[in-house]
């Protein structure tokens, strides 16, 4: 691709590209998100390639692997444009049929269509699927359409328009004003006003300035950043270049988890292409503005999501946070003013510049503008990435979009914001969610992980899980976080083991208070949240564990036993054969028995029993 030297050239290039692209062009898109790939979408893609070569010789067919469509539950997803026919759970075996019928003949294959569980009717078109219908997809929209490895696709669909607008028509201050006016808040979790942060960095003394894209999405159960970088890396880059121009930085870093190989790959490609096109590097679009981006791989430390630790890591030291002030905006990388924003924040920028702050202000609530992306996971029918306008209610997300709880079980609570967030019980299911309301409820926007819990989820166990996580991820620098979380974990473990005693809950409160108030960095300061919020809403479960040594959700190993229900057991031996500790005995055809002494409560027997003859109590 030849370099683009001026905004005019960019528009020209865009015109050419979109001319080449005929809207009625038959295009088969296969979801290439990590989720769908894990389901085997690559094999499907290959098969499609072969089949199309073999069968659809006469009509020109575009085949492309796109980024994540978000509906991971039903992968691999295949969408056929322009009719936007939506197939889910596609297997290699289905491919010949898809090509012969849908691609060549244009017919729809009913068996591959999505069935709305609520109405039971089949849905042919992607945007009509309830999962998509009720979303407001600003950042994820393009994921399903463009090929993330092609800058042409991005440019064709308006990409880098904001950059050229900024470089040709706006002064850096104006850019900052626009972002400030849009009230865009940092999507990293804390929700600090992006515009304000930019201004601080711009006005901080010193020539050299840096900016960083925080893509160290360490929060378990959240993967929207990954999905954006996989599906639309150029928008993140564009946001960063604009930011660089506004702040006065000429060097940017993307600090990305190395657990995300695909995202890294796509980002690398994108950077290379952008450089080739002169959208990165010296004198971008003839504006005289230089900017370049480097990738830095995280080395597997959750704490590096914390900005000072992240910077230490980029500088080549252990990822230990340092006290603030001085804030990165004053003294960041190598002591120079540095602006750090999350992937989603950067991805928002091109939109705001393109459509303007006023447009952006219309979306969302008073305090929180724009959209929020949640990865809705756990006990939910439609696991996937959900983007909604700020202010949407949990009910909309979980039931209208998420399709409710599997097996019709009852919704119990949702854990938002991962290790630094908290639980929200069903009472609050109708609260509109934005930064403020979540904080009020004792949770936190965090990175947007949303774990749905049903009756089978033990809240104490969940709290313990997150405490284990922070305990493992604590860098160990400051006393409250290192030892305090350990103390909390031990106490929680004791409770789940049935060794809890009176006073444990008070002790947890005391520790939590201390850790929150006096830890060195955000990791510690928010670590107790999962415990605090579960204590707030599910104290009874704690007490059940402590006082009557009972796990209401039947999860905690030491408080449950597995038993064979005599009148259901057919003596098929399946459980007996698979029991890892040979705790199950019984002849073929006779009722089996579980030796509680040997049983390690792995639950395998319950999983395997086709007759539901294993009960927990």
């Amino acid at each position: 691709m030849v370099a683009i030297r001026t905004p005019a050239e960019l528009e020209e290039r865009r015109r050419l590209l979109s001319e080449q692209k005929d809207p009625n062009q038959l295009t088969v898109t296969v979801c290439g998100g990590t989720g769908c790939r894990a389901y085997g979408s690559e094999r499907v893609h290959e098969a499609l390639h072969e089949e199309i070569k073999a069968q659809a010789t006469q009509n020109r067919v575009n085949l492309r692997m796109t980024g994540c469509h978000g509906f991971c539950e039903r992968g691999p997803l295949v969408v056929i444009q322009p009719k936007e026919i939506f197939y889910h759970g596609v297997k290699v075996e289905d491919v010949p049929q898809i090509v012969s019928k849908t691609v060549v003949e244009g017919e729809i294959i009913d068996s591959l269509l999505y069935v709305d569980p609520s109405t039971g009717q089949k849905i042919a078109h992607e945007r009509e699927v309830p999962f998509y219908k009720k979303q407001r997809r600003l950042l994820l929209d393009m994921n399903g359409q463009i090929d993330p490895t092609s800058i042409a696709d991005y440019i064709a669909s308006g990409g880098y328009g904001s950059l050229s607008k900024v470089l040709s028509q706006m002064a850096p201050e104006e850019v900052i004003d626009e972002v400030t006016r849009a009230k865009l808040r940092g999507r990293g979790g804390a929700g600090f006003l992006a515009g304000l942060k930019w201004r601080l960095t711009r006005e901080a003394p010193g020539e050299t300035k840096y900016l960083v894209c925080n893509a160290d999405e360490g929060d378990p159960g959240a993967y929207m950043d990954r999905s954006i970088m996989e599906g639309n890396p150029h928008r993140v880059l564009e946001g960063m270049i604009v930011g660089g121009y506004a702040i006065g930085a000429h060097r940017g870093f993307v600090y990305i988890r190395n657990e995300y190989p695909l995202a890294v790959k796509h980002l690398r490609t994108a950077i290379a292409q952008a450089r080739e096109c002169g959208l990165l590097g010296k004198d971008i679009l003839g504006s005289g503005f230089d900017f370049d981006v480097e990738i830095r791989l995280g080395a597997g430390a959750f704490v590096c999501g914390e900005e000072t630790a992240l910077m230490a890591s980029i500088e080549g030291r252990t990822g230990e946070p340092r006290p603030r002030p001085p804030y990165p905006a004053q003294q960041g990388l190598w002591g120079k003013p540095t602006n750090i924003n999350n992937v989603k924040t950067w991805a928002n920028i091109p939109l705001i510049i393109e459509k303007g702050a006023d447009w952006y202000l219309q979306i969302g609530t008073e305090g929180s503008k724009g959209t929020a992306i949640f990865s809705v996971v756990g006990k939910i029918n439609n696991t996937g990435l959900v983007e909604v306008a700020m202010g949407a209610t949990l009910r909309q997300i979980i039931f209208d979009i998420g399709g409710g709880i599997p097996k019709g079980k009852e919704f119990k609570a949702v854990q938002i914001g991962g290790p630094s967030g908290g639980c929200i019980p069903k009472e609050h299911i109708d609260t509109p969610i934005d930064y403020e309301s979540l904080t009020q409820l004792g949770a936190m926007m965090g990175s947007g992980g949303m774990v749905i819990c049903d009756g089978d989820t033990c809240m104490v166990d969940l709290a313990r899980y997150f405490m284990t996580f922070v305990q493992e991820e604590s860098c160990g620098k400051c006393m409250p976080c290192r030892v305090g979380t350990k103390a909390m974990l031990e106490t929680l473990t004791g409770i789940t083991k049935g060794e809890g005693q009176k006073g444990d809950i008070d002790y947890l409160f005391e520790l939590a208070g201390e850790i929150k108030s006096s830890s060195l960095c955000g990791l510690g300061q928010t670590a107790p949240n999962p415990v605090l919020s579960t204590l707030r809403y599910f104290r009874d479960e704690y007490e059940a564990h402590i006082y009557d040594k009972r796990c209401p959700a039947k999860v905690c190993h030491d408080l449950i036993i597995y038993e064979v229900v005599a009148d259901l057991c057919t003596g098929c031996m399946v459980c007996a054969r698979n029991c890892p500790t040979s705790a199950i005995t019984g002849e073929k055809g006779t009722v089996h028995t579980i030796d509680q002494g040997l049983c390690v409560r792995c639950g395998l027997c319950k999983q395997l029993c086709k007759f539901d003859a294993v009960s927990v109590s």
């Binding site: 430390a301 252990t318 230990e320 340092r322 006290p323 002030p325 305990q471 493992e472 991820e473 604590s474 860098c475 160990g476 620098k477 400051c478 006393m479 409250p480 290192r482 030892v483 305090g484 350990k486 103390a487 031990e490 106490t491 002790y507 005391e510 520790l511 208070g513 201390e514 108030s517 006096s518 830890s519 060195l520």
Partner: protein, 235 residues
């Protein structure tokens, strides 16, 4: 010059001074473990936290690293501060109950005994030794190894450091006496396998061949007199 209130006394301080520095100059006692005048503040032990009043309520900051701000209202010994310090010390006691230093702090803050225990350990991970070795001596023979609960002070590969100069500064700054020089210099002194000991070059000529001369001149009398003097003192 900026002005602030610390423990209800209004004072003016130079910009850039930390709360701890100000307090110390004013003879206000703030306990610290990981702080050393000659080193960059580390803000890890959290014992030096003080209460700073703010719009959204009071909060705790580590006084060793927190710069004085215009108009700040600071309490170095409020209930909030004491509560925090008590728990910090209690956590310290989890593995350091046996350390005189920790016990002293516990008594000072009125902590009876910890509700949570870990295997006893002399090291409280204040990081002073590591920072001293790097910042003062400029050698960096030791570093903090591992992360979280496994974190500890160590030399590379847990064998004797081959850059340690045995200056003892780490031992000197260690507040608990956890660190012994041999921890760093024990065993064969090399990460390279071929480290071989210094050859002691014997000296061929006597450094004191001029001593006699000295006697013969000024000091003979002195020695003689001395001898007799000694004689007398023994009687």
């Amino acid at each position: 010059m900026i002005h602030l209130t610390i423990d209800n006394q209004e004072i003016g301080v130079e910009e850039g001074t930390t709360i701890l520095e100000v307090a110390r100059e004013r003879g206000i006692f703030i306990p610290t473990l990981c702080y050393h005048e000659a080193l960059e503040p580390y803000a890890a032990c959290r014992l030096c936290v003080v209460e700073v009043e703010g719009k959204r309520g009071s909060r705790l900051v580590a006084s060793c690293a927190y710069p004085c701000e215009e108009g700040a209202v600071i309490h170095t010994n409020s209930e909030m501060v004491r509560r925090s310090r008590r728990i910090t010390v209690e956590l310290l006691m989890a593995s350091g109950e046996h350390l005189p230093l920790v016990r002293a702090l516990a008594i000072e803050l009125g902590v009876a005994e910890p509700r949570f225990r870990l295997p006893p350990d002399d090291c409280i991970l204040c990081g002073l030794c590591v920072r001293a070795c790097r910042e003062i001596v400029g050698v960096a023979a030791i570093s903090l190894v591992n992360r979280g609960m496994e974190k500890r002070v160590g030399s590379p590969f847990e064998i004797a450091s081959n850059v340690c100069i045995e200056c003892g500064t780490c031992v000197l700054v260690c507040p608990t006496g956890a660190l012994k020089l041999e921890d760093i210099v024990k065993e064969e002194k090399a990460v390279h396998r071929w480290g071989s000991p210094l050859d002691h070059r014997p000296c061929h000529i006597c450094g004191d061949h001029n001593l006699e001369a000295h006697f013969s001149v000024d000091y003979r009398s002195f020695i003689g007199e001395q001898a007799s003097g000694e004689g007398q003192s023994e009687g």
